[in-house]
């Protein structure tokens, strides 16, 4: 945490970086402001109630849109269409040879791809807005004829998402950090006051249960402090783990070394402990919430035992077990598809590098795979703990929304870490302890 602030303070001393940071903050503020503009043609209370009944999926979409969904603002769809479009096009660059060729054609090709992503975003936004509008048709206001009203809503949602895309691109081009991540980050941050208010209300509620006002007050303050402290310690812990790495020493035979050696001379492969980031958690959550969302959407009025079971699934012990298993499973799955020990080993070989004592080729990739496998266990346990403990607390205390705290922390710290790294990276080229001058 201290490093983070030091970095930011130093960054503000460098004019180029200061400008970039101001632009970034400016754009994010613009995003937050825009998130206050309500979408026309919608009965907000009804709309909100409707989407809240969608359960965790609705909750997740709400968080990503920075609360815009529940509040029925023009940013209700948030940055999702842009994320989807980026991924679809990225996916297609592997599958479609024409796009793959563009990707390889350097700067000009990449600009074309950017353009394609932009058009796809608008297309997707249009599609999603139409779907939203249809699903929430009962929450339309009735000042205008229905079809006209629908067009109004669809246009507002689409324009909102296109605007966010533009904001994100501005951050990429003129600011610092990754536009998409930062906008999601800002969305979660805007939710923090809400969470604080909720906690405050809860403390108030708890204090009311005591006869003596004084004891009630003390308990409430203690509770507030304890939860805040817990939240902070989770953040620190998550940051610590996200920055931990296992270093496998590498030696290069291609080069000779000089007479004087430097401390930083030893090279290594840094294997991150939390290699998979927040992905397995998101995977697990989508899988888990799917049945309950279906139940809420389609069998809202049924009292069938199975429906009932799914409805209360979030509170049952099975939920924790299944969630745990899914997180562990996805951690390994993600590592399997994303981490390629053979690629690492090949790259080493090409550059004349080797792990001391280990033969190049198969033995090297095996060694790396084994080490990474052990780290996966640590990663899986870490993610499970960060996600399940707040969920448990939420269930015990009855505060809604706390279930998302762990995931939020993972996302927030992940983005913050990433940003700090980028700032550092630029900072170091502008401002370093120069000697001799």
């Amino acid at each position: 945490m201290k490093g983070l602030f030091d970095t930011l303070i130093n960054a503000f001393r460098v004019p180029v970086l200061r400008k970039k940071l101001f632009i970034t903050f400016g754009i994010l503020s613009l995003y937050m402001l825009g998130g206050l503009v309500p979408s026309p043609g919608i009965n907000r209370v009804e709309f909100s109630a409707l989407v809240q009944s969608w359960g965790q999926i609705g909750g997740l979409m709400n968080i990503i849109s920075g609360g815009g969904l529940y509040a029925a603002t023009i940013f209700a769809m948030g940055i999702t269409p842009y994320i989807n479009s980026s991924i679809i096009i990225q996916l297609l660059t592997v599958a479609v040879p024409a796009l793959e060729r563009l990707q390889k054609e350097g700067d000009v090709g990449r600009k074309t791809i950017k353009k394609i992503v932009r058009f796809t975003t608008v297309g997707l936004a249009l599609f999603q807005a139409t779907a939203f509008c249809y699903a929430t048709r009962s929450a339309m206001s009735d000042f205008l004829p229905k079809p006209l009203n629908a067009v109004l809503i669809i246009a507002s949602f689409t324009a909102g998402s296109a605007f966010i895309m533009w904001l994100g691109e501005q951050i990429n081009d003129k600011g610092i950090g990754n536009g998409i991540s930062l906008i999601v980050f800002a969305g979660i941050v805007t939710r923090l006051p809400d969470m604080a208010v909720q906690l405050y209300n809860y403390s108030l509620d708890v204090s009311g249960r005591f006869d003596s006002a004084f004891i009630g007050f003390i308990i409430a303050v203690l509770l507030f402090a304890a939860v805040t402290a817990l939240a902070l310690s989770i953040i620190v812990f998550v940051l610590f783990v996200q920055n931990s790495e296992r270093r496998i020493a590498v030696q290069y035979s291609k080069r000779v070394v000089g007479r004087k050696t430097y401390g930083g001379q030893n090279t290594y492969i840094p294997l991150k402990v939390n290699q998979s980031g927040v992905m397995p958690v998101i995977f697990a959550m989508s899988m888990l919430s799917l049945p309950s969302t279906i139940v809420t959407m389609f069998f809202a009025n049924s009292n069938n035992i199975i429906v009932e079971w799914f409805r209360n699934f979030g509170k049952s012990p099975t939920y924790y077990l299944v969630n745990l298993l899914l997180i562990v499973g996805f951690t390994f799955f993600y590592s399997l598809i994303q981490f390629n020990p053979i690629e690492i080993s090949n790259n080493l070989q090409k550059n004349g590098g080797f792990l001391p004592g280990v033969r190049p080729g198969r033995p090297t990739s095996d060694f790396i795979a084994k080490t990474a496998g052990r780290l996966n266990w640590v990663d899986a346990i870490f993610l499970s703990a960060v996600v399940l403990i707040p969920t448990f607390i939420g269930n015990v205390t009855g505060m809604s929304n706390v279930w998302f705290a762990g995931t939020s922390v993972l996302i927030l710290t992940g983005v913050a870490n990433d940003l700090v790294k980028q700032v550092e990276s630029q900072l170091i080229t502008h401002h370093y302890k120069g000697f001799l001058d």
Binding site: S253, G277, I337, L436
Partner: protein
């Protein structure tokens, strides 16, 4: 008006200058020579006083116009004046071949030289520097501007004189080397240059783009660290491809297979080749493998007069004093049965790109700038301006003729050459390598007029080119014929000019397409100068190395790929595939350059800091003074034995020596870091951050190392007759060798930040990852 590709074709401001110039010019025609010289002198005085050089442009150009007319008998065209105005504005100009770029440079150089700060006209090679300087000298003399040129082999004294002239013509790399040599000077008088002001760069795309990545390197006479032992060499020579070692797809890297490792271990009696203690041996094995199996005689290098000479991939020319790094050079010498020489250790290096950034102002000219406009803009912040041709180019560029296999291509080529030669029309055939040029010449040896131009006989270049346009000439060349070469129709026989014109001018035949269409166009540009007629045509086959290397062949439908036919193929797909490959190559080179530039930034900063510190010490304005600070007692004692002046002299030289050796070590360290950080991008880290952090930390240590080195030297002081004998202690100004170090094929992997996009679309993203992974695995399998 600047478009997104970095091209600005708004000529309006330059046309204004042109109009004003013509006004002045009209008044000057009647002036006497003496009067003009006087005006030139007056202009110089005004430039010193009034400062704003741009305002003087019309007058200056008008005076040059007259000077050129009277001394050289040339009347500059309007387009040349436009070009000059654009260049004085910092532009890179594109002008068709044969329209007199050399003359344009005089205008821009004269204007800038008025300030007295010294202008460098950087050419592609020594020959052009000398030719252009001598050719234009009368005009400069007339104007009262001193002009000199620099050649390889000139003494430092001669060079210093040349740099003190108002205008200095020199090959770009010579100037770069002289700059680096300043880093090794032990006496302020040995520094040859007097700062950098304006560089006018001829064949600017070649110097700024093709050569920009090749670092200029000076090596000291400190022995190299890798010594190749005969025994290891013998062991490696016995290895076979695909049994003991493999190469990667682009043949840039080579590595041992399991069998190869076992074989080396057995042959050398090692338990584990990859044990930390065997690093030196692994390094040597690697180096020998590269020398034996990746580098080919007459393609990558030639042997001439018992010397190993490297051939430049882009220009096809021999690069004198160029060498491969880290023992590879010595290994190739052993391979060719030469005695390996001691190549020394790198003392300092700078890329051409960073060197040119030392000039506050640059401008340039070439025949092919547009294709590289984005790069000029990105790296040098210079916009490209296309100057309209004085006479439109009427050369006809025919589409490629494509054959299925090489034999068919050569047969068609030979037929074409014989057929055209029979008419007496001159032919220039550009080939891919020395080997190919000789092969083709062999097939045509019955033609008496045939001449071969390649790296092996480059001293005859001027002669061969002078004749290349004459009636019945057949010139077979490597891509050497692409630069600064002006082929005059009819050659030396003016009376033949019209006959050759009537035959259709020069006929350019390419036997292969190069990796960039810019280089293809350079070859085409040899024909059709100044409105002359001309034709160009490329003959290629599916077996050409460009098509094989980038797997264009495999991308073609089976119906084309597997047939062998004598006639040409008619399939537009191939043209498209080649154009695409060239674009991809350019895109990738551009990316690689961007990345390399990013990585070079920090080192460049640090190099400048060290350089300027050293310069201050050299001039006696500064000192590390570490000995006095650490051991004041010993210092006082020493001063009782020797006079203070002697102490100061020794102190200075010791410090200069320490800085040089420590910097050399530091450069080695950086190379190692660069190798090591690549792996970080594969595990999704930030290699750039790691790299910079290591450099920042190490730079602090560098200071400590320098101090330690100084102190160590004081420990071994040899005092004779009240003098400190530094020579006896092995401290002397190292006599440097200039070398061009060739980089190996390692290119930085760019870091793709998937973080943002990856986070929120579990289903889509996992699908993507699975698919990408599947594809990657399939590729690996295919490769195996």
């Amino acid at each position: 008006m600047l478009n997104h590709r970095g091209i600005d074709n708004n000529l309006r401001p330059f046309k204004k200058t042109l109009a004003k110039t013509k006004q002045f010019s009209a008044t000057l025609a009647s002036h006497s020579d003496a009067k003009l010289s006087e005006m030139s002198q007056a202009l110089k005085d005004r430039a010193l006083k009034e400062a704003k050089i741009e305002d003087l442009a019309p007058e200056a150009y008008a005076i040059v116009f007259e000077a050129v007319k009277r001394t050289l008998g040339l009347t500059p065209f309007d387009v040349q004046l436009l070009a000059a105005a654009a260049m004085s504005n910092g532009r890179v100009i594109e002008m068709p071949t044969g329209e007199g770029k050399t003359l344009v440079a005089v205008f821009a150089a004269y204007l800038a030289a008025l300030s007295g700060k010294g202008v460098h006209v950087l050419t592609f090679n020594d020959y052009l520097a000398r030719r252009d300087a001598l050719w234009m000298k009368p005009a400069y003399d007339f104007l009262g501007v001193s002009v000199r040129y620099i050649q390889e082999g000139m003494t430092p004294k001669e060079r210093k004189d040349a740099y003190n002239a108002d205008v200095t013509y020199a090959a770009a790399k010579e100037v770069g080397f002289d700059y680096l040599n300043g880093f090794l000077a032990f006496d302020p008088d040995d520094v040859m240059q007097r700062g950098f002001h304006l560089a006018i760069i001829d064949e600017v795309d070649s110097i700024l783009i093709d050569e920009a990545r090749v670092p200029l390197v000076i090596a000291g006479d400190i022995p190299a660290m890798i010594v190749i032992e005969k025994k290891i060499f013998a062991v490696v020579s016995a290895m076979r491809k695909d049994v003991h070692f493999q190469t990667d797809e682009y043949a840039n890297n080579i590595f041992l297979t399991d069998r190869g490792i076992t074989y080396v271990e057995k042959s050398l009696g090692l338990e584990n080749l990859y044990d930390a203690k065997n690093v030196a041996i692994t390094a040597k094995v690697n180096v020998i493998l590269q020398a034996l199996f990746l580098l080919t005689r007459d393609v990558d290098y030639i042997i001439k007069d018992g010397k190993l000479l490297l051939v430049d991939e882009f220009t096809g020319r021999v690069m004198r004093n160029r060498q491969w790094p880290d023992g590879v050079h010595a290994a190739v010498e052993i391979k060719e049965g030469l005695t390996p020489k001691n190549h020394g250790v790198v003392m300092n290096s700078i890329t051409m790109q960073n060197f040119l950034k030392l000039y506050p102002e640059i401008c340039g000219m070439t025949g092919t700038a547009c294709a590289s406009a984005p790069e000029f803009f990105e790296f040098y912040n210079s916009a490209v301006t296309v100057i309209p041709p004085n006479r439109p180019c009427i050369r006809v560029d025919h589409p490629d003729v494509i054959y299925t296999h090489k034999e068919a291509k050569y047969r068609a080529l030979i037929d074409e050459i014989r057929k055209v030669h029979a008419t007496g029309r001159p032919i220039l055939a550009g080939t891919a390598s020395i080997e190919e040029s000789e092969y083709l010449a062999g097939l045509l040896k019955d033609i008496p007029e045939i001449s071969v131009l390649n790296a092996k006989n480059d001293e005859e270049e001027a002669e061969i080119i002078a004749n290349a346009g004459s009636l019945g000439a057949v010139t077979i060349s490597t891509n050497m014929a692409g630069r600064g070469v002006d082929i005059h129709l009819g050659g030396r026989h003016e009376e033949e000019h019209e006959r050759v014109r009537a035959l259709g001018g020069l006929y350019v035949i390419g036997t292969t397409r190069y990796e960039s269409d810019r280089i293809d166009n350079q070859l085409r540009g040899r024909a059709g100068r100044q409105g002359d007629p001309g034709e160009s045509r490329f003959f290629i086959s599916l077996e050409d190395s460009l098509l094989v290397k980038y797997r264009i062949r495999e991308a073609l439908p089976d119906s084309i790929r597997d047939i062998k036919q004598d006639g040409p193929l008619e399939n537009p797909l191939i043209h498209k595939a080649i154009a695409h490959t060239q674009r991809v190559m350019e895109g990738q080179t551009f990316d690689a350059k961007m990345t390399l530039q990013k990585y070079a930034m920090m080192v460049e900063d640090q190099r400048r800091i060290v350089h300027s510190k050293r310069e201050k010490i050299l001039r006696g304005e500064d000192t590390l003074a570490i000995f006095e600070k650490t051991f004041p007692d010993r210092c006082r004692e020493l001063l009782t034995k020797i006079p203070e002046s002697e102490f100061l002299r020794a102190q200075k030289e010791i410090e200069l020596f320490a800085i040089n050796t420590c910097w050399a070590d530091y450069l080695l360290f950086i190379e190692g870091v660069l190798d090591g950080v690549q792996i970080i991008s594969i595990v999704k880290g930030d290699p750039f951050l790691t790299y910079n952090q290591k450099l920042v930390d190490a730079f602090d240590e560098l200071e400590k190392h320098m101090n330690d080195t100084v102190l160590e030297i004081y420990d071994t002081l040899v005092i004779q007759d009240g003098r400190i004998n530094l020579n006896q202690m092995g401290i002397k100004g190292p006599s440097s060798t200039r070398t061009y170090m060739v980089q190996d094929g390692t290119e930085m992997q760019s870091l793709i930040n998937e973080f943002g996009a990856a986070m929120f679309n579990p289903v889509l993203y996992s699908f993507y990852l699975i698919y990408a992974n599947f594809k990657k695995k399939k590729k690996q399998k295919d490769a195996e």
